[in-house]
Subunit: 412 residues, 2 copies
């Protein structure tokens, strides 16, 4: 007996048959005695078709109108999902982002949630016995313009609703069956994790684990929402993303990740003056380049510095434009761009209280005969940049060195 939020993504509602399957999931949870809120994305094909329509009309659709257009995608799914539940003889009612009162700022295409105003209406509908079907991904701003939340938006809606309704769990149904100690396509012996802490999931998400978008995990962390990531296709238990607690036993490294397709820009002999980094990175930010690690070395005498930073390969062309701009402003500067890099990382909140993690990682890579190009660390992450071709091997070596393929032993 509790309140469950279930989220089904675009592939899980791709056609009438899949909508009926998702409906049965919701009904089962309801028959188990729970109040059930279902959050759905647009059917996969629908979004593609809507985008296609827009580009038939114009090559530069406005963000506001694009949101107005795309929001119809989830509105279609919620209506169909409610119909499917009715068809099975149960009560259901669909609500758009506006109807659940999901208020956002006015940043069309990537709006941020501010509050959910219709909590009372939702609770009343649940009390009446209805399964409430809410549109993911969409909200309304102060002036009731329709906004969308950007990538991972439906997950964010689900977690925000779970937070607002103080749900017992927010179940994310997806095409993988949980969070793994590493990507099983690269590391076949990777294990499905029974649970992971919000902070660990956040780091893994930013390191390339595609399962959950950081924004929804962060929301889950801030409002202490238990998120359960599980398969749309089986009944197997997935992975819980939960509040950090030593009661759950502690391990040092929860998982390992590989981020591919990286490049590094090195700026050599940059005149060393106050505001140097700020000046350089304002150019970088102007071109929407996402920067990973930054290393700055001041040369003896302090007149020049070398500065390097890692970027995603997608941003290479933009980076070359930045380099040209900087060369004009700093005539003495030279540059080098290194491509075909990858980054292997280990993540675990246990690192906060344990030492020797970095050296164990370096040793593992050394044993595997892999050169480390660059190292960066944060409180709960250690990352090594390596050559792209060594990436998968590096991930396997690290995964094995931290015994992530074995049942964790408590270390608390």
């Amino acid at each position: 007996m509790g309140l469950i939020v279930q989220k089904f993504g675009g592939t899980s509602v791709a056609d009438a048959e899949k909508i009926h399957r998702a409906a049965r999931r919701a009904i089962r949870a309801k028959l188990d005695g729970n109040d059930v809120v279902v959050v759905v994305s647009a059917m996969n094909k629908t979004t593609d078709e809507l985008v296609d329509l827009a580009y038939q009309v114009t090559d530069r659709p406005s963000r506001r109108e694009m949101d107005q257009l795309l929001a119809t995608g989830e509105q279609i799914t919620i209506a169909l999902m409610a119909m499917a539940i009715h068809h099975a003889g149960h009560d259901a009612i669909s609500l758009t982002g506006g109807q659940i009162g999901l208020r956002t700022d006015a940043s069309f295409g990537r709006a941020r949630i501010r509050e959910i105003t219709e909590r009372g209406r939702i609770l009343q509908l649940l009390k009446r016995g209805s399964i409430v079907i809410a549109a993911g991904f969409q909200g309304v701003d102060e002036a009731l313009n329709i906004t969308t939340l950007g990538r991972g938006g439906s997950d964010t809606t689900a977690v925000a609703l779970a937070a607002s309704l103080q749900a017992d769990v927010c179940e994310i149904f997806t095409d993988v069956d949980g969070i793994y100690s590493a990507d099983p396509r690269i590391v076949p012996e990777a294990r499905k994790l029974p649970f992971i802490f919000h902070d660990e999931m956040l780091e893994l998400a930013s390191l390339g684990a595609q399962v959950m978008h950081s924004r929804s995990v962060e929301l889950g962390k801030n409002y202490d929402v238990r998120i359960h990531v599980r398969s749309s296709y089986t009944d197997a238990k997935g992975t819980d993303i939960v509040k950090e607690s030593s009661d759950l036993g502690q391990i040092i490294v929860r998982g390992a990740a590989l981020k591919k397709d990286l490049a590094r820009v090195e700026l050599i002999g940059v005149p060393n003056k106050p505001g140097l980094a700020s000046e350089i990175f304002s150019h970088v930010a102007d071109r929407d380049i996402i920067v990973d690690d930054i290393i700055q070395v001041i040369h003896k005498g302090g007149e020049t510095a070398d500065l390097s930073f890692t970027i995603e390969a997608d941003n290479l062309q933009a980076a070359h434009l930045v380099i040209e701009e900087l060369r004009r402003e700093m005539p003495g500067m030279t540059s080098e761009v290194k491509t075909d890099l990858a980054k292997v990382s280990v993540v675990g909140v246990g690192m906060r209280t344990h030492t020797g993690v970095a050296s164990r990682m370096f040793e593992a890579l050394h044993q595997a005969n892999i050169n480390i190009d660059n190292i960066s660390t944060s409180e709960i992450v250690i990352s090594c940049v390596v050559n792209a071709e060594d990436g998968p091997r590096a991930l396997r070596a690290v995964h094995s060195a931290f015994e992530l393929d074995q049942e964790p032993r408590g270390t608390a």
Copy 2:
């Protein structure tokens, strides 16, 4: 310089090219110095696809969820229309039924408009120079559930907006180029009317003229909205539907119409008692049968009556069920059902002040050797039921008898 509401139906926005064409219409009106509000329907194909999706999920979709689903149709068109206007370098903003504050009752699928609450917002957007694109056919009820207005709903939205904004004209762009003195497919010499009064249009609409739905014309009458029906494909002037005024000159008959596929039910020897008609027609109403003329004859002595009424052929099956029910309740009653009937009518507010119209019509039908099965008259309409096969010839005879193929001569 004024305020124009332009409405484009589903065929006028059926694809990107047609949307651009409609956008150019709106822009031209704007460049002529007008404030412009555009009301659009769903793209023709979209509605079919949405209905198809619903029936893939269930054979009995709920009305509320069907409205939630179908309303996405216009939301798609408004976004695309705004994009098309942007593409041409002009300001535009799209608004859903909820965003224009079109409040209705909660009769899903056939909701009635109560008010438009966001008049102020629309006027402000117009003042700012935007072309406002509003979704036709849809509104929201008190609880912000999405509702749809049923047949002719987008016209109704357009006229309601024109009324609320006190627009100078509400232009209805359609695939015919105006209102004709009779259906030109049956009467080749029919003339396009420069204008017609609201009451005349209302009668013609209920007599089978498909151009405008009665509800929008009635709204136009009540709020004194000038409605201009014109072609999407040409610049030719169409027909104005305007407030009755003797200044416009008076003719007796404005137009003639033919309603096909009618049938008549005759109930013979019904026991004559108080509440007779009420009892019979409550059965008829229970089965959603739309009844046209009713004739009741009390027999000598007053113990029994004969009662007949005209229905559309679509309702024949339901009518037979009603007859069975009545037979059980009124054992002495017999019945006859006559099919393959049609009704030819003439309409004109001038009849209120002129006599001899009926006899002129009967004479015309007599001359054409057409039997009149039944006659009904109202203040501005005279109708004769004839055999279906005589229908087209009857329409041509009447059209000619009232010289509707010629420039009207003032008779005031």
